[in-house]
Each structure stands twice: as C-alpha cells, then as structure tokens.
Amino acid sequence: MEQPSLERRVTLLDLLDRILDKGVIIQGDLTISVANVDLVYVGLKVLLTSIERAEQMRRLAGDAGAPDQA
C-alpha cells in the first residue's frame, strides 16, 4: 500500500497550520465554513497519527516474523 512520505505529510500539516490559522485575519468576515476546515484538519490528524501507528504496528509485526513488503 502506497503511503505518502513523512515529509509530504508534514508539509501538508505545515500548509494547513499556516493558511487556515495565520496570516492577515480579518475578523467577522464571510470565510469558508469552519466545518470544512475542521474536516480537513481532522482528516489530516487522523492520517498523521494513524499512519504513525500503522508503521509502528507493521514493524512490530515484521519483528515477529510476518512478511514485510517495505
């Protein structure tokens, strides 16, 4: 299964942390719905943690003698 590299995931996190939260913020504007932004964020956080955890489990499985494609 193809997973984006850690660099790619971190780059995406850096992008989100910046363009959604920082820069010139004009209060009380009509901006994109917070629900949308939260979805992108939540999706990414799940991605970051789940991939790290999956990697960890894969290695443990590899140590236990399971076939390891990587």
Binding site: L6, V10, R18, I26, L30, I32, R59
Partner: protein, 218 residues
Amino acid sequence: MLYLYAITRSDAPPLPDPADLAGGPLDLLVSGELAAVVGAAERAPPADEATLWRHARLLDLLMADRALLPARFGTLLGEGRLRAVLGRHRATLLADLERLAGCVELSVRGLWPEGEAEPAGPPPPTGRAYMAELLDRERARRARAAGAEAIHAALAPLARAATRGPARAGMPLTAAYLVGRDNVAAFRAAVALADSPGLRLICTGPWPPYSFVTSLEE
C-alpha cells in the same frame, strides 16, 4: 464579493499571470501605498487539499518578486469592507511589509522517528511493569522535549525572528523562522546539522511569512 489573497505595497511589480491558479484573473485594489491582491468570487472556495495547494502556489508566485502579507485562506469580503480594513490598519500593514520584505518563513518540526512514535496505548496493568513503563515513557518524552528546546535555542539566533507553536503528541518541536531569502540554504544546512538523537527534524518552506504577520486588532 472579493476574494483576498494578499496585501502588498501599491508600488510592487505588476501582477504575474497566474495561469489557472486563481480560477480567474487577479486584480489589485489600490488604497494609497497599500494594494490588495484579489479575485472576483461569489462564494469561498472549498477547503479541499487541491484548492489549498493551488492557493499556496499562487502565493509562491506572488512572493517571488514582492513583499506580501498573506491573507488567511477563505477570506471573502466586499470592496467597502476591504477598503475600510486597509484604511484602519494602514500603519500596521505598512510596517509589516517593511519588516518582512526580503524574508520568507521556514518551518521546522521535530518528530519522534517513525516506528518510535510516542506510545499511546495503556501501560501494562501490573504494579512493577506499570511503573517501569511509565518511567520509560516519561524519560523518553523529557529527553525529546529537552532536545527540541536545544534545537530551537540554537536555530533562533540564526533567524531574524522565530516563533514556537504548541507541541503535539509525537512532535515536541513546532517552530517557524523568519529568514532572509538569501539565507534559506544556509538555514537549511544549519537545521541538518542541528539534528538531535531521538528526534527527526523536517524543515519545510519557504512559506510566505504567515507566522510573522501582526494580528489586526479590530
């Protein structure tokens, strides 16, 4: 309605041709020494990954030859409101443009290496194993936190400005550095040298100076 991309000086070079990045032509709304880079839009764009990257590439194109203050993604407002904001915050915006001219932002994150992610599961239930596991986890966490502090302390003096973000689980260092455009390669080389045992450093950018824009008080 206007979709705001960035604020620049009105004497900045002519706008580049954004090809298809902006989803339409870019326009400058000039207000004295300030100019807002805007597009026409009826609604805010969807916050999906492809749209976010397109927005980022457009800003990359703009910042290649001008100082700019990036607007938060999704800022849609009427012309009157935008003119009012430019007028009320003129001094702050001009000072920011001057301070940030010639600079870009680099991000540095320190992560627990993959496969050694901070353990999240419950520790073993029995007394002795439980204590030993807690002790191990705390030692490892503290060692990495100290490593992150040391790295930031070493990198901050190399930048014109620096700011720390909150630590996340498995990510004890989140920091942004304001660096002269000519110093990006040197700063990256310093990051490569600053590597600390037990932490993997990832440097991304150059980004527009998002983390160094003064927040506007209404």
